[in-house]
């Protein structure tokens, strides 16, 4: 057993048992972040705050929500929206945050792609981030089932049908996932469990992993400069804060983060109070009706690009393209063959590849919502082919890239 002395203060008492001074030093005051960064580096904190808001609002919704096919719709739209004090606020915060969190995730992802923050020792940061993206997607989808409106039901029907895998006709698998021939009570109950327990646990574990993967390679910077963190930290600690290329996580980085967070919150609560409809589709305010398909079925906006990759093809090809879209982002660190871990504007062709990808995904997103007819159908097909093509040429154009010397 370790040796303990009589504590001189509460701080000392805790310090002997928990080493809080060391923790503080390692996690905050001597956790080094590059100085040369912009506000996009605060998106991690914005995401953490948004996840916190989802968790808290979710807890209060959970206190009144009823996971029963006959009661779910009214427990949300009557009990929570009309009876519970501030129930409407929790629900609108939860619904808007679920949508906005994906906007920030996409900004965070594309920041990583633009600045090459998945290269040279940072591969696991990217992969753990992508795992978070996939888990968040599952979390969003399972949550969308819970109000048991028309869009919940029919999105549940369409997405679980994907698991029959086209010509493999795995109807047994689909029925196993649903626990019934069609989405019903068993389906609602298990997606409820996934949404409020299993997936949040996985998300929290993955957030821990994501932070862990940052520790050794450190956060990237705006110019892709390789920094000797020990040397720069020594300068900082010697009081030469102005010359040092690093800053401490707290309070230096945190102060900037919180300012960005405060601007984000203004935007977020503006949406919550004045513009929540975009995140709460009107179709889902009609109770689920298994015998009536809504005129238009489309997923929430953040799934549209991958949905559109599924749509223009015949069932089997569509599923293969869809599967491709789901895994390809994971492989980015290995498909990018360039020796440079630099921002895109220093990398020649990659710069154009980056913007082509952004624009193509926006086009896919738009076409994914529009009815699949006429010109939209054609544009969607070409955008889907472009998406696949972009990923095929990525190793080629990055292989051709010359090493950038500063």
């Amino acid at each position: 057993m370790a040796h303990f002395e009589k504590a001189t203060s509460l701080h000392d008492w805790l310090n002997q048992r928990l080493a809080i001074d060391t923790l503080r030093r390692v996690l905050a005051t001597e956790y080094w972040i590059p100085k040369n960064i912009n506000f996009l580096w605060a998106m991690g904190m914005v995401l953490a705050i948004t996840f916190g808001m989802l968790l808290i609002s979710g807890i209060f919704l959970l206190m009144y929500y009823q996971p029963n096919v006959d009661l779910a719709f009214d427990s949300v739209n009557y009990t929570i929206m009309k009876e519970v004090e501030f129930g409407w606020l929790w629900r609108h915060v939860h619904g808007v945050a679920a949508s906005v969190v994906f906007l920030i995730i996409y900004i965070h992802m594309f920041t990583g792609i633009y600045y090459g923050s998945y290269k040279k020792g940072r591969e696991l940061i990217w992969i753990s981030g992508m795992l978070l993206f996939v888990t968040f997607s599952a979390e969003a989808f399972s949550g969308y089932m819970l109000p048991w409106g028309q869009m919940s039901y029919w999105a549940g029907m369409v997405i679980t049908n994907l698991f029959s895998l086209g010509d493999l006709h795995l109807n047994g698998l689909v029925e196993w996932i649903r626990g019934d021939y069609v989405p019903g009570q068993a389906f609602l109950n298990r997606f409820f469990m996934l949404h409020v327990l299993l997936l949040p646990l996985v998300i929290i574990a993955l957030i821990g992993l994501h932070f862990g993967t940052l520790r050794i390679p450190h956060v990237n910077n705006q110019e892709g400069e390789e920094i000797d963190f020990d040397e720069e930290a020594a300068k900082y600690k010697a009081g030469k804060k102005k010359e040092a290329k690093v800053i401490a996580f707290a309070n230096d980085f945190l102060a900037k983060d919180m300012f960005v967070v405060s601007i984000f919150l203004i935007f977020f609560f503006y949406l919550v109070f004045y513009h929540y409809e975009f995140a709460m589709d009107p179709v889902n305010f009609d109770p689920a009706d298994p015998l009536k398909t809504p005129e238009h079925i489309y997923p929430e906006w953040y799934f549209l690009w991958s949905y559109e990759i599924l749509r223009p093809f015949s069932t089997n090809v569509g599923l293969i393209a869809f599967g491709f879209a789901q895994v390809i982002f994971f492989l980015l660190p290995f498909l990018d063959r360039s020796p440079n871990a630099k921002p895109a504007h220093k990398r020649g062709l990659f710069f154009y590849w980056f913007w082509a990808l952004v624009i193509d995904m926006i086009v896919l997103t738009a076409m994914g919502k529009l009815p699949p007819e006429g010109i939209f159908s054609t544009i969607g097909l070409y955008a889907a082919l472009t998406f696949i093509g972009l990923w095929i040429i990525l190793p080629i154009i990055t292989k051709m890239e010359k090493e950038v010397k500063e």
Binding site: K35, N38, F39, L40, D74, N77, Y78, M81, K82, W88, L89, L103, I107, K241, K242, I247, N251, D252, A255, K256, M258, F259, V261, S262, I263, L265, I266, F269, Y270, F273, Y274, F278, M280, P282, V283, F285, D286, E295, H296, W301, L304, V358, I362, T365, A366, K369, L370, P371, F376
Partner: protein, 337 residues
């Protein structure tokens, strides 16, 4: 400056994406229906038939029936317009109104599928031209004439033989507009205009009235009165569903399920938004529509006033929050730059 440039790029792409998936996509998904400010002159009815003729011609289908229908509609609405210019005599109208009361009375029960509505506030609820059209030919006024071919008649069809002269029509409408136009609240407006076909469970309204307060037998937990009421509702709903093809939807949360524009234009002429629907045109005036809408918002968006109150407070607080965050950041970073 660089940060502002980056911010501008992020905001631009976000707004483009938003525009494409929301306003643009919805404009493509839903055909545009013109709002006519609750004027009932038959224009949308005539345009509907004209459109059908155009489609039929494009498909090389016969248009003779439709052309006949078009003439019929044009003639009908021009006659309505003519009657609206005749000065009606409310005193003479009272006698005619007595005939209406044969079916429209307090406590009326289901007749051929629907329960005749109370006319207590008919003069305030319904537009003058619409009432004229309604007395002249109910199926045409409601724009559900497609449902009644030669073999069946609108449940109110008998009025056509009872009140047929232009002057009679003008008189009874004048009577309604003068004597049955008292003040009403949002609940009365909804109940009289919509409540015979549509339930609203969030307001405890059923097609046969508000759910009554009943007591259960404490020894058994059984509540016979409640069961009896449920049976009455079920019978009324079955009759309605048989008559209309399906049970009209519960309107508890319709204000969130449909846009404001959809609801307004749908009430003006249901056929424009849902071709072939069994829902009749109701003929609400602008004022009475607002009353009905108020009831529906109380039902489906009850906390809207609280939301409107809290919004500015939260945003002002966040501005202060941002100011302090900025001051802190500036202080911390003074040593770093």
């Amino acid at each position: 400056m660089r940060e502002l440039k980056i911010l501008a790029i992020v905001v631009t792409f976000t707004l483009i994406t938003y525009y494409l998936v929301e306003p643009f996509a919805h404009s493509q998904m839903h055909k545009h229906v013109e709002f006519r400010n609750f004027q009932y002159d038959g224009k949308s009815d005539i345009e509907e038939v004209e459109h059908k003729i155009k489609v039929a011609k494009a498909n090389n289908e016969p248009t003779k029936e439709l052309e006949k229908k078009l003439e019929e509609k044009k003639k009908f609405w021009s006659e309505v317009d003519k009657i609206s210019k005749i000065k009606g005599d409310p005193v003479a109208g009272e006698g005619t109104y007595a005939m209406c009361q044969g079916c429209h009375f307090d406590g009326a029960t289901n007749m051929g599928g629907v329960t005749p509505p109370s006319l207590e506030h008919a003069g305030a609820l319904y537009d003058k031209k619409y009432l004229i059209a309604l007395v002249k030919d109910p199926a045409m006024a409601m724009n559900v004439d497609h449902k009644y071919k030669d073999d069946s008649m609108h449940p109110m069809g008998a009025i056509m033989s009872m009140v047929s002269s232009d002057q009679d029509i003008a008189n009874v409408v004048a009577y309604l507009k003068e004597k049955k136009a008292g003040k009403m609240d949002a609940t009365e407006a909804f109940v009289e205009a919509c409540g015979r076909c549509h339930a609203d469970r969030y307001m405890k309204w059923t097609q046969v009235g508000f759910v009554p307060k009943t007591k259960e037998n404490i020894k058994t937990g059984q509540d016979i009165e409640a069961l009896k009421f449920k049976q009455k509702v079920a019978e009324e709903q079955n009759a309605l569903a048989d008559y209309l093809g399906k049970l009209p939807p519960d309107l508890s949360i319709i204000v969130r399920a449909r846009s404001e524009h959809f609801l307004k234009t749908f009430v003006e002429d249901p056929q424009t938004q849902l071709p072939g629907t069994a829902m009749p045109r109701v003929g609400l005036t602008k004022e009475s529509y607002e009353k009905v809408n108020e009831f529906l918002e109380d039902s489906g968006d009850a906390k809207r006033h609280e939301r409107a109150e809290l919004g500015p407070i939260v945003l002002v607080y966040l501005l202060i929050f941002a100011l302090f965050a900025y001051l802190w950041k500036r202080e911390v970073w003074r040593d770093l730059h």
